[in-house]
């Protein structure tokens, strides 16, 4: 474990299995898990806190006017005001719900279609050019089309978010399936696995890391598409708060919306990270 340059060796992140001397010693010394978690969180907070300090300093020094960049305190006040009006939680709640639903739908479709196109040469030839083209259609461009087809209700919003979540999962699954260890797939085939059983027994477990990198990108993209989705006739949600504050020149609320999107985005991502760790322990 020559970790001299601060470059992590594989062993350092090895959750399962091999625990050599040092780890055993630690294990004997008691459960430092909680403390380690705290320390980790503290280190992770360094950069955000530094950014916050920088923000506070620039506004205090008057580099930007209050409308250009309100002070952190003003943003907190704007948040407090929304809380007092009982609106903040509705914004957060409805957006989170939309993102999660859209993410689940889009992610599931991405997994299914990515598997199909990744494994069937026919589906690949037939579908991947079209899917590749649709991938580059911006979220904002979908808005008028979706309004046309699905009107302005919740369906069109969820569809747009699902579209956003679909592509990262589709792409990563589709590309990763091509590179599953051939020897393992061959072993599976030699033992009579084929089609869906081969997929679920060998191919999908083998790409669990790739699936999760697709899912994490999909979740992030679902949040990105939320703003476009909430341009579709909504009066609630963080995306709405963002555009509305922008239109009304409420920079403090605008920043509040950005910070909330970042924080909630990170929280949902962290939850997905927990699922990932579990899955990786199980499958990789």
């Amino acid at each position: 474990m020559s970790d001299a340059e601060g470059v992590r060796t594989e062993a350092t992140h090895d959750d399962g299995g091999r625990a050599a001397a040092a780890d055993l010693a630690v294990a004997r010394a008691g459960r430092p898990d909680a403390r380690a978690g705290l320390k980790r969180a503290a280190i992770g907070a360094v950069v955000p806190l530094a950014l916050l300090a920088l923000w506070q300093w620039t506004t205090a020094a008057g580099l930007f006017s209050a409308v250009q960049l309100p002070a952190p305190g003003a943003v907190v006040a704007a948040g407090a005001e929304l809380v007092a009006r009982g609106e903040l939680w509705s914004h957060v709640g409805i957006s989170t719900q939309r993102v999660l639903l859209g993410f689940v739908i889009g992610g599931a479709l991405g997994l299914a279609l990515g598997s199909l196109v990744g494994l069937s040469a026919w589906a690949d030839r037939l579908l991947s050019p079209t899917i590749g083209a649709l991938r580059a259609v911006p979220s904002l461009a979908w808005v008028p089309l979706l309004i046309l087809w699905l009107k302005i209700g919740e369906n069109s919003k969820l569809t747009l978010i699902a579209i956003g979540a679909f592509f990262p999962v589709f792409t990563t699954v589709y590309l990763a399936l091509r590179h599953v260890d051939r020897k393992l797939v061959e072993a599976g085939r030699a033992f009579g696995l084929a089609g869906v059983r081969l997929l679920t027994t060998i191919q999908l477990p083998a790409i669990v890391p790739a699936i999760f990198s697709g899912l994490r990108l999909a979740l992030a993209q679902a949040w990105l598409f939320l703003v476009a989705a909430e341009l579709i006739a909504s009066s609630m949600g963080l995306g709405f708060l963002l555009t509305d504050s922008q239109n009304n020149g409420r920079t403090d609320r605008l920043l509040l919306a950005i910070v909330l999107l970042a924080v909630i985005g990170k929280i949902t991502d962290a939850l997905l990270g927990v699922a990932e760790r579990w899955a990786v322990r199980r499958w990789a």
């Binding site: 299995g17 061959e186 072993a187 085939r189 030699a190 033992f191 696995l193 477990p205 669990v208």
Partner: protein, 283 residues
């Protein structure tokens, strides 16, 4: 590792899997040189011939050992038998009918263990079970097999947590779990110490006795071939002509278990080593 365990292993479904015959007819195999690789540059031909005109018939229940120098095409022939590759020339017959694609009736023990890293040893062995196996019955036979290959204490370990020899035994157990008509084994005992190797050879023979299946066994150990096989087949190429073919076929006399010091075997051993190019008097 009792005989009774082996018997139990076979008992519940005895007779369902009948040993099959296996016939290679004028089989040849060639590989395209990798595009863009350096190998291609100097080569006149973009195709490397590995096997040519291989004729070989295994009767049901027979054990045939396949010997040959490293890189001579033993694994390639086994892959063809398993239906994993289609031969470039000739054809493969299983039970008299031409076979393409993977046959349900074959089981393969690959040269490398090829265990799925995310499955426990036990789950990996269970992969070998025939698809129709009843859940409970399957679990029981996996447990018996793990016991037989001496891995019962680490059924729940992942492949990364077991030693090379243990992985090889798990791979053997997976192939046996299939209870196939044809058992194809690629150096199944290569990574085992002397004692474990003997135990595993023993196990193979007992399984074969309880439920006689056709076995094609690749090995690089002449003694092993002589201990286990009904016939020994040596692959090799003629000087200057690319592609290996069957150079020798030897019937091994005597019923198993055989005595290593039997004069006939000692003679055969010498013949085989000479065929393989080993000077048995030096060293």
């Amino acid at each position: 590792m009792s005989s009774s365990a082996v018997a139990t292993l076979s008992a519940p479904r005895a007779g369902t899997t009948r040993a099959a015959s296996l016939e290679f007819r004028a089989v040849g195999q060639a590989f395209a040189a990798r595009r863009g690789s350096r190998a291609e540059k100097g080569a006149h031909d973009a195709v490397t011939r590995v096997l040519r005109d291989v004729h070989l018939t295994l009767v049901p229940g027979e054990i045939v050992a396949l010997l040959g120098p490293s890189g001579s095409g033993k694994s390639t022939l086994l892959r063809i038998a398993a239906g994993l590759d289609t031969p470039a020339e000739g054809e493969l017959l299983v039970d008299g009918t031409p076979s393409t694609g993977i046959s349900e009736r074959c089981a393969v023990g690959f040269q490398e263990p090829r265990l799925a890293p995310w499955l426990s040893v036990q789950e990996n062995v269970a992969l070998g079970l025939p698809r129709t196996t009843d859940r409970r019955e399957g679990q029981a036979s996996v447990e018996r097999l793990l016991h037989l290959v001496g891995l019962d204490h680490c059924a729940g370990y992942r492949p990364a947590e077991i030693s090379g020899g243990m992985a090889q035994r798990a791979s053997l157990a997976r192939a046996l779990a299939r209870r196939p008509g044809v058992l194809l084994l690629d150096e199944p005992f290569g990574a085992l110490d002397a004692l474990t190797r003997m135990k595993m050879q023993d196990l193979l023979l007992r399984v074969h006795e309880a439920e006689p299946t056709t076995v094609l066994l690749v090995t690089h150990d002449v003694d092993e071939a002589l201990q286990l096989a009904d016939r020994v087949v040596v692959l090799g190429s003629d000087h200057g002509i690319p592609g290996a073919r069957v150079k020798h076929v030897l019937e091994v006399p005597g019923a198993r278990p055989r005595d290593r010091d039997d004069a006939a075997l000692v003679g055969l051993r010498r013949t085989l080593l000479t065929t393989l190019g080993v000077d048995t008097h030096h060293h």
